[in-house]
Symmetry: C2
Subunit: 232 residues, 2 copies
DNA sequence: CGGTGCGTTGACATTTCTCAACTGTTGTGG
DNA sequence: CCACAACAGTTGAGAAATGTCAACGCACCG
């Protein structure tokens, strides 16, 4: 893999595209690329940071494991996303577990030590990180808001509406995620998720295929998301 | 209020204490101080940023209002906390509402425009902001994790255990918050909160006074927090 | 001293979880 | 290439937690 390719891959990321070329080249020198498979562990909770990551393609989930084996998905990430910057910049330890959720996921790995040195030496890096962290902050605030909704149906409706839809005819969402993981993300059981989708399909509001969901009546979903009491 | 006093107040904040004196002085020049009362609105959702804030004393809650009038508390903040930096640095609009929750709350207000100018001109500010934002990120991740717990009792137990306790004899928590607001923070109804506290007190695990809670059996609470099925 | 709103308690309705069985899919090894 | 194992997803029945509605006591503030 050539340095030029790596540089191109990095520049494709929202967080790096605004960096001056020479700085980007320096970051490239810290970066390695690797291909992973579903289920691969990237790092685990408490481990000391050796790098932070960007997803070139594929998917990753960040989660915490509670003592009773229950899994709390903090974040689900896809192509273009970066993760663990905060761990590198402030803590030195990963606060969560990271696992690959899609086959053939390509990761860019930016070495922590080198990056920290660069961060201290070159003042142009910090503003870029500020923007990146602020972004992350907003998605987390939205997540908190989402989870605060008491009704499972509200949480699901809201999640569906927020997904980037392939705007062809009708909003069709490709949930790049096992339903099991989506359920965990929304703090509900797979059974509840399954039943909600089933019922909404029966009511004609959505069309649920294997890994695709078509929103046929976004209006109705919006009502649910706003907490206009439960389904049925 | 003298500039020296203001400077001292700013330096007392975790986010600013590591700034070089001359830079801190420049920040001070952008800062005003004000005293507010319970219920005062500091800013509301969607409003364009005129400043970010630090709490010198008292309390503030950040929340979103959903269309049906339901209130989702994103954050509850106390002395030493800063808020709305991300809004100032990246978005230009406040994403939430901010309201004072304690009488005689003293706020420091750092003007957005001036701060942004300073941020761009002086490279020493960015690293400090990175640290600050990373901190915030972690508390939000914890919040997400907390809210992912399905059982109301687990969420409450976890919250109680995380509170800074006055380590005298027994951990005594001064919930600097109306129970109503605590309930909203934990995504449950005031009734459920009331019942949980009542039951736990009956079981001898806690002692619940007006605004103080004594943890008499943290072990037991820890079990609940870990999701070892519901209470009783 | 009266009002306003928080906190509590009770009765009830409902959602959602739990447990269990069954189906379909995916991937592997013979 | 097929059989089988492993696992995701679905469906059903029952239990439990929590929300809803309503009434009441109590504190705080005017």
């Amino acid at each position: 893999m050539s340095a030029a390719e790596l540089l191109g891959a990095l520049r494709a990321l929202p967080h790096f595209k605004s960096l001056p070329p020479d700085l980007l080249a320096q970051v490239t020198a810290l970066t390695t690329r690797s291909r992973r498979g579903t289920g691969d562990l990237i790092f685990s909770e408490g481990e000391s940071c050796r790098a932070f990551f960007a997803i070139e393609s594929g998917g990753v989930k960040l989660y915490r494991a509670s003592p009773d084996g229950h899994e709390q998905v903090v974040h689900t990430l896809h192509a273009g996303a970066t993760f663990a910057e905060a761990a590198v910049l402030s803590f030195g330890r990963y606060p969560v577990n990271a696992v690959v959720t899609e086959p053939s996921t390509v990761l860019l790995e930016i070495g922590a030590e080198g990056f920290l040195r660069l961060f201290r030496e070159d003042a142009r890096l910090a503003p870029a990180m500020v923007a990146s962290l602020s972004m992350r902050l907003v998605t987390l605030v939205e997540r908190v808001e989402e989870l605060s909704l008491v009704q499972a149906g509200s949480r699901l409706a809201r999640w569906l509406l927020r997904q980037p839809a392939s705007r062809d005819q009708q909003p069709a969402i490709d949930l790049g995620l096992a339903k099991k993981d989506l359920a965990a993300h929304l703090a509900m059981t797979p059974e509840t998720l399954s039943r909600l989708l089933h019922r909404w399909q029966a009511d004609g509001w959505i069309e649920s295929q294997r890994t695709r969901i078509v929103l046929k009546d976004p209006e109705r979903l919006l009502e649910l998301a706003d907490g206009v009491s439960g389904p049925t």
